[in-house]
């Protein structure tokens, strides 16, 4: 019997082309996703070296980061954004890379379209020049974000050089309470292990609370792995995974499907496998969470106050105070009742159909507060189409909301969807860094449920107070 191994080991090890003594592994990549922002310099590099794209068939492109979320049928107004999107089109045409660009029925945020097209599959290695590539780990893939030099490596050779990360287990057992979502689990975990707690590690999420999540929920959780510093996070594939993938555009079909599922069933951590670090959490301890500071680790349960500065370790006080000053909050403050100016629902974290369903169901028959500007941005064209088909858009419209068109939008505010300086934004995205949603913008990260509660009441609100029953 060979040494017991983890899910991560199983996937990583079967992709190692070569071990370099005292150095990184040469890792083979099954799926490379590219977008307009982090690829142009990589393509320039290829040209300078006179290299071709090694495997255009394993590469997929979309335009998402800087595209407008209104009037997508028109030419992009901002010239720099337009140039970048056009450059992607030119590069993809030149190298025969499939591109699902603006106005294509499969366009969308790269981490939303990969799974929904079945490009993301268990056991794969997946990279993209975007840190939220960790999302795809929800399928039991080793998926992580890379820099542009590494994008160039993968384009040129389908390989990357990486030291093998350490392994971390995060186990969440029990049943989630009413109003608690995958987003709350993610924020809860990061608030406990900090934004650097996962650095150097790959996380496996396990336990009954994780098993009970839908694929959308698992994607939200794995998406936020990078916010704890971890390169990626994974969930072992199971029936939930297989039924999500079956019959998707690029999923295996026919006899290939059966064979693939058989292989995927073996992708799990052996009973006695060792992790470098383990955390165990009780699902019942998790409440709807909200961030109060300027990194995703600075969150509290909605019923708890912002920590007191005195409770912090030596040396952390200055950064904590800087953060609270930026947000205009005081230590010990209660979040409930605080001002809300904008509500953003979308992003690779919470821009999927299930998120729009949760939001719509919540606001159904209610009215958006007048003081709130809301941007509801679907993660992809397919999500948009489904939201229309399911009648969600009608519900949203009746409640005073409008749905925009797919893209990364106000998550990183590269396009025109910027929160004005000093304004408070309740956001379902992944980062509350200073200026992330626009220079001077103040972001509070929440689940789609809490976003809905805040949009309706016009102030920070515990969604459980508005959920009937």
């Amino acid at each position: 019997m060979s040494q017991p191994t983890t899910l991560f080991d199983k996937v990583w090890d079967r992709h190692v082309v070569k071990h370099i003594t005292g150095g990184p592994n040469v890792l083979y990549i099954d799926r490379h996703l590219i977008h307009e922002v982090t690829s142009p310099v990589a393509f320039l590099g290829l040209e300078k070296r006179d290299l071709k794209v090694a495997r255009p068939d394993k590469t997929t492109a979309t335009a998402d980061h800087n595209v407008p979320t209104i009037n997508q049928h028109l030419s992009i107004e901002d010239q720099l954004s337009r140039d970048q999107v056009e450059m992607l089109t030119t590069n993809c045409a030149k190298h025969n890379i499939p591109l699902y660009g603006l106005n294509h029925k499969w366009q969308g945020i790269v981490h939303v379209i990969g799974p929904e097209l079945g490009l993301t599959q268990p056991g794969m290695t997946i990279v993209c020049g975007d840190s939220h590539t960790s999302t795809h780990g929800a399928f039991g893939a080793v998926a992580f974000g890379i820099g542009t030099s590494e994008v160039e490596m993968v384009l040129a050779t389908q390989c990357i050089m990486q030291p093998k990360p350490k392994k971390m287990l995060i186990n969440v057992e029990g049943v989630l309470s009413k109003g608690v979502t995958a987003k709350d689990i993610a924020l809860y975990i990061i608030s406990r292990i900090t934004t650097s707690g996962g650095t150097g590690h790959f996380i496996e999420y396990a336990g009954s609370a994780i098993r009970s999540l839908t694929m959308e929920g698992r994607m939200t959780l794995c998406n936020m792995s990078i916010e704890s510093g971890a390169r990626g996070g994974m969930v072992a594939p199971d029936e939930t995974t297989f039924s999500y993938l079956k019959d998707r555009e690029f999923a295996p079909n026919g006899v290939h499907w059966e064979k693939a599922v058989e292989d995927w069933r073996g992708l799990k951590t052996d009973p006695d496998a060792k992790f470098d670090k383990e955390y165990h959490f009780d699902a019942a301890d998790i409440e709807p969470m909200i961030t109060y500071g300027t990194n995703p680790g600075m969150s509290v349960k909605i019923s708890e106050p912002i920590p007191k500065a005195e409770s912090l370790q030596n040396g952390e006080g200055a950064s904590f105070r800087k953060s609270l000053d930026y947000m205009g909050f005081g230590d010990g403050d209660i979040m409930k009742g605080k001002q809300v100016d904008y509500v953003f629902v979308g992003s690779c974290t919470n821009g999927r159909i299930e998120d729009l369903r949760a939001f719509s169901e919540f606001v159904k028959g209610k009215q958006k507060a007048d003081n709130v500007t809301a941007w509801i941005v679907p993660g992809s064209k397919q999500v948009e189409a489904q939201a229309i088909e399911e009648g969600l858009v009608d519900i949203l419209n009746d409640a005073g909301f409008e749905m925009r068109q797919p893209g990364c939008s106000a998550c990183l505010a590269m396009n025109d969807d910027k929160i004005p300086a000093g304004k408070y934004s309740v956001s379902t995205s992944n980062r509350n860094f200073e200026g992330r949603q626009g220079p001077g913008a103040r972001t509070m990260l929440v689940s789609p449920l809490m976003a809905a509660a805040c949009a309706i009441s016009g102030k920070i609100t515990d969604p459980r107070e508005l959920i009937e029953g």
């Binding site: 005292g22 140039d83 020049g129 975007d130 650095t199 040396g315 590269m414």
Partner: protein, 197 residues
């Protein structure tokens, strides 16, 4: 297209005693629209260096003429967040060749190394000592010897050894880059593909 060889550096340093400096602070997203790698240094720490009306904020360390040099010293968990390599490009383009911190985010560390920018991790006590020395005397000179993996505070003679992956060290010292290496083992990669298929 190799990277620049990393030479021994002796320089004063710019202190940035802030923790969790994320890549959105290093280079905000609105400056990522270029299709070429140039000019990012201008916008390094843009929203900390300039106010809303584009005036320099005098007390930000990079704007303080007392602080200069090729070494940036920053609080723990430097470079967290986005994978944007533009962050490493901006720091390099501004003129830094070394970043010292007590902790680096993974993707930033890789991006830095792939661009000839050396991230040096020291203990939190050592980091605090360096901050204190710069605070006492902004001209405090630090020698960075990659070959021997040693930082030396010139004035006191205090030395701090640091770790680096042996492969990456060779790359930096010789100006090798990973792409050249991967291209050179192309036949091994193709054999792996065949074997796997």
């Amino acid at each position: 297209m190799a990277i620049e060889k990393f030479q021994k550096i002796t320089s004063s340093a710019v202190p940035l005693p802030i923790e969790n400096v994320d890549t959105d602070q290093i280079i905000p997203a609105r400056f990522l629209k270029a299709v070429e790698r140039k000019g990012f240094g201008e916008n390094l720490f843009r929203d900390w260096r300039y106010d809303k009306s584009d005036q320099l904020i005098p007390d930000f360390p990079l704007n303080n003429p007392e602080f200069r040099g090729e070494i940036l010293v920053a609080g723990k968990n430097f470079g967290s967040g986005s994978s944007r390599e533009h962050a490493a490009w901006a720091i390099y383009d501004y003129g830094f060749r070394v970043v010292i911190s007590s902790f680096f985010a993974d993707i930033f560390r890789n991006n830095a190394l792939n661009n000839g920018l050396l991230p040096i991790q020291v203990s939190s006590e050592e980091l605090q000592m360096i901050f204190n020395l710069i605070d006492e005397d902004p001209a405090t000179s630090i020698a960075v010897d990659l070959e021997n993996q040693l930082l030396t505070i010139e004035k006191t003679g205090k030395t701090i050894p640091f770790d680096i992956n042996a492969y990456k060290k060779e790359c930096l010292l010789n100006g090798y880059d990973d792409i050249d290496y991967l291209v050179s083992i192309k036949s091994e990669i193709e054999a792996f593909e065949k074997d796997k298929a």
